[in-house]
């Protein structure tokens, strides 16, 4: 079965605004990932790791400079129509992604108009789409600025699902929502996935969200995949120290269980001056000499996982032991 979305060695550069210079700044380097039919993949990483750039590159908003995007087995190459007809995107700021002078009723039915699909009764279609996300029909007459954050998010979901897409790229689907509304939106996304066989690429730095929605996790650091694998395995025993630090940094109900030795130090290095060797060595709690000189490759570490660390194998064993100790 072909994957819904397949990125092969995707790279994105941005031009550095120098006069007469052609210098380009690499934002994403050789990112490969795939999202299967009905699968939910989470893309995690700190601010500046290239998550949003990746989403935009997939949807053809940012030109890619290397590699390729395959949608349902076919390469997306210049002609974005098929991708845009069958994949939808949810933006981080739901209110800002709705055109301000148009009513909700118009906005949710706009995909039909854009693609010239039959729309015999716009009002009825709008009512159905809104009902699907649990919004009353009266919302159709409202303007975006008259919606609450949660309502705007639901309208965004309704519009994303209007044409029964096979893939939804969701950029921080819970950003700016309070916890109860977050839960509603997540349950909604989950139900729709079950009902429609929808695949998600969820971009977030919210690990609780990842645990809740994702089958697989891809961890980005400075525009490179540093670890990739099934959600449960990665949370149980991260193979890359960066992943371990992210998980350790997550707030825990019991503060005594926080691992100070894994705490991440300092800021993300600037993509303008990428560290030599392993790009994480400046912040890695387990750094060794080899890390400062030689960049590691993304290698399989068992359980269908991959990690970009020289010592992933050794640590796997140790963590396995520690896990065993924890459970005793």
């Amino acid at each position: 079965m072909t994957a819904v979305l397949d990125l092969r060695a995707l790279s994105v550069d941005l031009p550095l605004g120098g006069f007469l210079t052609r210098a380009r700044l690499p934002i994403l380097c050789d990112v490969s990932l795939s999202v299967g039919r009905g699968e939910s993949v989470a893309l995690v990483g700190e601010s500046g790791s290239g998550k949003t750039t990746l989403a935009r590159a997939v949807m053809g908003l940012t030109p890619i400079s290397g590699g390729s995007v395959f949608f349902e087995g076919q390469r997306v190459d210049g002609d974005l129509a098929r991708l845009r007809r069958n994949a939808a995107m949810m933006f981080q700021d739901a209110t800002a992604s709705l055109s301000p002078r148009l009513t909700v009723g118009y906005l949710v039915t706009e995909p039909f108009r854009i693609h010239g699909l039959p729309l015999p009764d716009p009002a009825a279609t709008a009512r159905d789409l809104l009902a699907r996300v649990g919004l009353p029909p009266a919302i159709a007459r409202r303007y975006p600025h008259e919606l609450s954050g949660g309502q705007a998010r639901r309208v965004g979901v309704a519009r994303a699902l209007a044409l029964d897409p096979r893939l939804v790229v969701a950029d921080e689907p819970t950003a700016g929502l309070d916890v109860s509304v977050q839960a509603e939106v997540l349950n909604l996304m989950h139900d729709l996935r079950a009902g429609m066989g929808l695949a998600y690429l969820v971009i977030t730095h919210n690990l609780a969200l990842v645990r809740h929605v994702a089958d697989r996790v891809v961890v980005l650091y400075l525009g490179r995949v540093v670890e990739e694998g099934p959600t449960a395995r990665i949370f149980a025993a991260p193979a890359h120290p960066y992943t371990a630090s992210l998980i350790a940094a997550e707030p825990k109900p019991d503060p005594r269980r926080r691992r100070a030795d894994l705490a991440i130090r300092g800021e993300v290095p600037s993509v303008l001056r990428r560290p030599a060797g392993c790009e994480f060595h400046t912040r890695c709690p387990l750094v060794r000499d080899l890390c400062r000189s030689t960049p590691p490759d993304l290698v399989p570490v068992g359980d269908g996982r991959q990690a970009r660390c020289h010592f992933a194998d050794q640590r796997q064993d140790k963590q396995g032991e520690r896990h065993a100790v924890d459970h005793r």
Partner: protein, 291 residues
């Protein structure tokens, strides 16, 4: 586009009510409506033919027969003012309308089109607005000869760069906004994005600017007509009336006064209305005048 089932404009309800609540906006609205109805109904409300001569009755001061008096050829001044409103507003609205439309189209193209086209258009806007207005007007009138059409052409050429630049700036600011990106992701074409999503969001400030520019154009028309470079004489232009009245200032000072009043009122009316609209449409701008 077959989108008649939804209204795109009208998102800002209650503009009218807010405008009426503002004393200055209300005054502006009343004056503007007054002048507009004078212009529209001129043939029915003007008591005399504005160019009919009655030399025996020249230089009469205001009376029951001639409410505003008569000029050096015995023409009824009130009738000339009423027909003059049609001329002044006709020229102002036509030329500002054409310039606004041109500015809107070019501004959208410059703001959303390719970089090279933007560069080219900005060069055009900048070179047009670097020309000194009056001398440019004189040059064009010299080449084409004075007349209403020339006047409109001059006004359009002089004023469209300002509108285009305003729209371009607004468009540039919105081109990267999330809702435009969202439209692109859904597969919306350039025409749909420009007309349905950018256009309604950039026109507000343009309407204000156009309204504020109408008095400038009325003054320009009057000024050029005063210099005999605008509307040709028998026609009842306020500028022509001022010019004729100035020649007879000693014999009949009322002519200049009567011809000056509508000019002042119309200018104030449109300026008030423009400022009122600005306050209503753009609450962030400039702040309240009273306070």
């Amino acid at each position: 586009m077959s989108c008649a089932d939804e209204t795109s404009l009208g998102a800002r309800r209650g503009i009218g009510r807010a405008l009426l609540a503002d004393p200055m906006g209300l005054a502006g609205l009343v004056i503007v409506v007054l002048f507009l109805s004078m212009a529209v109904f001129a043939p029915w409300i003007a008591p005399y033919d504005p160019i009919a001569l009655d030399v025996k009755a020249k230089f009469q001061t205001p009376s029951a027969a001639h409410w505003a008096g008569t000029d050096h050829l015995g023409r009824d001044l009130l009738s000339r003012i009423i027909w003059g409103a049609r001329l002044a507003l006709g020229i102002a609205i036509t030329s500002v309308g054409i310039a606004g439309g041109l500015g809107l189209i070019l501004g959208l193209v410059a703001g959303y089109g390719p970089r090279w086209l933007d560069g080219l258009l900005v060069l055009v806007f900048d070179s047009m607005s670097s020309l000194p207005m009056i001398f440019f007007a004189l040059a064009v009138i010299t080449v084409l000869g004075p007349g209403t059409a020339t006047l409109i052409l001059v006004i359009v050429l002089v004023s469209f760069p300002a509108y285009a630049r305003l729209i371009r700036t607004q468009t540039l600011a919105l081109a990267g906004a999330d809702f435009i990106l969202a439209e692109r992701v859904m597969g919306a074409g350039t025409a749909r994005i420009l007309l349905r999503h950018l256009l309604p969001n950039v026109t507000g400030p343009l309407v204000i600017l156009l309204c504020m520019d109408i008095p400038v154009v009325i003054m320009l028309e009057a000024g050029l007509s005063y210099l005999n470079l605008g509307v040709k004489p028998p026609a009842p232009s306020w500028g022509n009336m001022l010019s004729e009245g100035y020649n007879a200032l000693r014999q009949a000072p009322h002519v200049v006064v009567v011809a000056g009043i509508p000019l002042v009122l119309a200018t104030l009316g449109f300026t008030f209305l423009g400022e009122g609209l600005r306050d209503v449409l753009d609450p962030r701008g400039a702040g309240r005048r009273w306070g």
